[in-house]
């Protein structure tokens, strides 16, 4: 009887925990949806602050391209190494450019660049906005009759969408370069041949798909990082917690939107 009571209590407790978690997730989704609406509304009419927008583009783009290029080159190299094992066994090295190019442009490149971007730019954005909230700088903006959504959030969102698009475009090219170098060094496939294979494979659709994904990932990272930054409470500990949550949720967002964009692209 005692065992049954204990089991019943444990099950009830488990159900309660699942319910609480579900409510918490739904609350976050609701808050993200409301913030998205406010962000889109802040672009109508477009009243972005020129200085703040320039600063956002500089921080998001110029300061990120080196790390994106490095990530992309290693991504291309890894894809060639992975693809190389199979094409070498099948004596089909003429497919290595196609295989690596397809995987890099459509999938691995945008996802890994997005994750790197989230870790660098998204986390930084959450920390900066969160610190502004706990030090009352956001309230100070409101007290100066300056709308934080227009002044702080909209430029960052625009910068993240545009710059992740451009960084993906750039990163894809460097990923192919990394793949070409690796194929020459490890597979004895000359770089010129590798590049010709990529060109012959006509991967324009895959490249465009990757760019669309980059933009969508940028939007997703921007909304998530702004949401967690603007809702910080609890001082420095709260900022740390918000950054942690932002990185985790943004990573989940990248995989979810990757699936959604992939399915939609195939459907269209």
């Amino acid at each position: 009887m005692n065992v049954l009571a204990w089991a019943g209590s444990a099950i009830a407790s488990g159900i309660r925990d699942v319910g609480r978690s579900a409510i918490s997730v739904l609350e976050e989704l609701g808050a993200l949806t409301i913030l998205s609406g406010r962000i889109f509304r802040s672009f109508i009419p477009p009243t972005l602050d020129g200085r703040e927008t320039w600063r956002a583009f500089y921080k998001v783009g110029v300061k990120s391209y080196a790390i994106v290029v490095m990530t992309a080159m290693f991504t291309g190299a890894i894809m060639v190494i992975q693809a190389g094992q199979f094409v070498a066994k099948a004596s089909a090295t003429s497919f290595v450019g196609w295989a690596a190019g397809f995987a890099v442009l459509a999938e691995i490149g945008p996802v890994l660049i997005g994750l790197m971007f989230s870790g660098r730019v998204g986390a930084n954005n959450t920390a900066e906005l969160g610190t502004m909230v706990v030090t009352e700088q956001v309230d100070a903006l409101r007290a100066l009759a300056i709308e934080p959504m227009h002044y702080l959030v909209a430029p960052r969102v625009l910068a993240m969408v545009v710059m992740l698009f451009l960084l993906t475009a750039l990163g894809d090219l460097f990923a192919l370069l990394g793949g070409a170098i690796t194929s020459e060094l490890l597979l004895d496939v000359p770089m010129r041949v590798f590049i010709q294979q990529v060109v012959d494979a006509n991967l324009v659709d895959e490249y465009l798909l990757g760019l669309v994904k980059g933009s969508v990932f940028g939007l997703s990272i921007a909304i998530v990082s702004c949401h967690f930054g603007l809702t910080v409470s609890g001082g420095a500990v709260g900022v740390g917690r918000a950054v942690n949550n932002a990185v985790v949720v943004a990573a989940i967002g990248i995989f979810v939107t990757d699936l959604a964009v992939g399915l939609t692209w195939n459907f269209l």
């Binding site: 502004m132 007290a143 100066l144 709308e147």
Partner: protein, 251 residues
């Protein structure tokens, strides 16, 4: 004129303001005093809509502030500036850019014009030489001076000072006191000053209101405060740790 009418505000189970009513006539300097956690900052933040009351109304002249949306509050905030307790300068901007920001956004000045005007205002608070520095590079007292310069850029009719002399050396505190007095005497600016600084309070205030346990314990002139026999008020203005006063954390 500013009028707080029956303001009630609670955070969770803790009622910070309990039926607080105060009126500040045009050009007057009202000091709000009380222990830490008495709700002084909470009360003044209601005036510019940074906090919404659970009950009660606030009027700024004929405008009922409490019923306004966030966007509708912006004209009110241009008329009623606020200097925050911790200065709250923007970390990513130089001191000059901090002061120039409201000029760029609300007076339609170009970046260059706003910079010239901002420099003039920094000169007025003795901070022109540091104009290119960032807030993190200077001390609390200097930050507070810049925060005051920034708050006054839109030539407000009302100014809220939240502990403006806390952390300042006596000379800097004296200059802030003179500035508050001058704003009232020369420009008829109405000021609400949250302060613990007894020296400033009795030197600058036209009127003092003491908040205690969520209510206005005493509202009167500096002379009324000096003459009062209320044991709690006396304990506060004499700065005695022993006495009948119940501190918020113990309540």
């Amino acid at each position: 004129m500013i009028s707080f009418q029956n303001i009630v505000k609670a955070f969770g189970p803790h009622k910070v303001l309990d039926d607080v009513s105060l009126t500040v006539p045009k050009g007057q300097i009202l000091f709000i005093i009380g222990t830490s956690g008495a709700g002084k900052s909470v009360l003044v933040k209601h005036l510019v809509g940074l906090i919404r009351p659970d009950a009660g109304r606030i009027y700024l002249d004929d405008v009922e502030v409490t019923s306004l949306s966030e966007m509708a509050l912006y004209p009110v905030r241009k008329r009623c500036a606020m200097v925050f307790q911790h200065s709250t300068l923007f970390d990513s901007m130089t001191l000059l850019e901090n002061v120039a920001l409201p000029l760029r956004k609300h007076k339609g000045l170009s970046t260059k014009q706003a910079g010239v005007d901002a420099m003039r205002r920094l000169e007025q608070v003795g901070m022109a030489e540091e104009s290119g520095q960032f807030p993190a590079d200077i001390g609390d007292g200097l930050r507070k001076r810049v925060a005051i310069a920034r708050a006054l850029t839109l030539d407000p009719e009302y100014v809220i000072f939240d502990e403006p002399t806390t952390g300042l050396d006596p000379m800097a505190a004296e200059s802030v006191d003179s500035l508050i007095r001058e704003l009232s005497d020369r420009f008829q600016v109405t000021s609400i000053v949250v302060s613990h600084d007894l020296r400033s309070i009795f030197k600058v205030a036209d009127r003092i209101a003491m908040l205690y346990q969520g209510k206005v314990l005493l509202d009167g002139s500096p002379a009324d405060f000096r003459a009062t026999t209320d044991p709690v008020v006396r304990q506060f203005i004499e700065g005695r740790p022993e006495g009948p006063m119940v501190f918020p954390r113990k309540s």
